[in-house]
């Protein structure tokens, strides 16, 4: 029987790695909730977004396998993030300079 054994072995992420990421995600969630209770003004928004970005990168890299997957998926993601950033930055200039 012909099998695709020659195909590249699929990367298997261990249970422990996922558990660690989950602990980190829950930890970051409690940090963001705690920080939101303190009055930091506009800085609070920046901190909240920074923590959300760190959580996203954990989910994308580990849960969604981007770190261990083929490079083409990093390109896909890069293009989408770049598109979003361009749209946000251009809109920000428009709104601020009105």
């Amino acid at each position: 029987m012909h099998n695709n054994d020659s195909k590249k072995e699929h990367h298997v992420t261990g249970y422990g790695t996922y558990l660690l990421v989950w602990v980190a995600l829950i930890g970051l969630t409690s940090i963001t909730v705690t920080v939101a209770g303190i009055d930091f003004g506009m800085v609070a928004l920046a901190i909240a977004l920074l923590i959300a970005a760190i959580k996203s990168s954990l989910v994308i890299n580990i849960f969604m396998h981007i770190k261990s997957d083929e490079p083409i998926f990093k390109v896909f993601l890069g293009v989408s993030l770049f598109t979003l950033i361009v749209i946000f930055v251009l809109t920000a200039f428009d709104v601020i300079n009105r």
Binding site: Y18, A36, A48
Partner: protein, 209 residues
């Protein structure tokens, strides 16, 4: 005869392109990012214009329920990831347990959402209500965005539950195995995307003070 068998065995492998299937999924996720991205853009502009009124409106939201739902959704992302590893390690039983847990957490998320929206409705805050329309423009916008964005997210949760239920059945029927699990992987990607969107929805709606 043996030639024939060989041909059939070959055919089962020829028509599969896992990388292609995953590329299609990522392209779809790209369109989802733009869909929600557009909404986050509207949110950003109005929050900039009405930052004080957004703060007042956000006080109405229940931070504890929001936090609880965040933890539930993050945990459901963990269980779906564990289920995929379990399938790769040929542990069907552990995969099924984790898929069932994921579905349970998803349902729990929706139940909490139901009570959360329900209490808003009881206080007369729902799209087009007199109580809401008497508020300031920024507050009306805040609740409009809140209902549309968490509503669309909730719809994604329901679609994700249907997908994962289908995956659960395929796993039980041995249609998804350690060497053929791209459907499960793609459904997992969808589920993680739903989680990703919530990671941003949560601080932007529930944590403004």
């Amino acid at each position: 005869m043996s030639h024939n068998e060989h041909a059939i065995a070959n055919e089962q492998h020829v028509h599969r392109d896992d990388t292609g299937a995953k590329m299609g999924m990522w392209l779809f996720l790209f369109t989802e990012l733009l869909l929600f991205g557009g909404m986050f853009l509207i949110y950003a502009v109005y929050r900039f214009q009405f930052s004080d009124q957004f703060r007042v409106a956000a006080l109405e939201l229940n931070t504890s329920l929001g936090t609880l739902n965040t933890i539930i959704l993050l945990t459901s992302s963990l269980t779906v990831a564990l289920a995929i590893t379990a399938i790769q390690k040929k542990n069907k039983f552990f995969a099924i347990i984790n898929l069932v847990l994921t579905l349970f957490f998803a349902l729990l998320f929706m139940v909490i959402k139901y009570f959360e929206w329900g209490s808003k409705f009881e206080h007369g805050i729902y799209p087009g209500s007199e109580e809401l329309l008497n508020k300031q423009n920024g507050e009306v916008l805040f609740f409009g965005l809140y209902y549309v964005m968490t509503g669309l997210h909730g719809l994604h949760i329901i679609i994700g539950m249907a997908l994962l239920f289908w995956i659960l059945i395929l796993v039980m029927k041995d249609k998804i195995t350690h060497d053929n699990f791209v459907k499960m992987e793609n459904s997992g990607l969808y589920w993680h995307l739903v989680d990703l969107i919530w990671i941003f929805l949560f601080p932007l709606f529930y944590l403004i003070h």
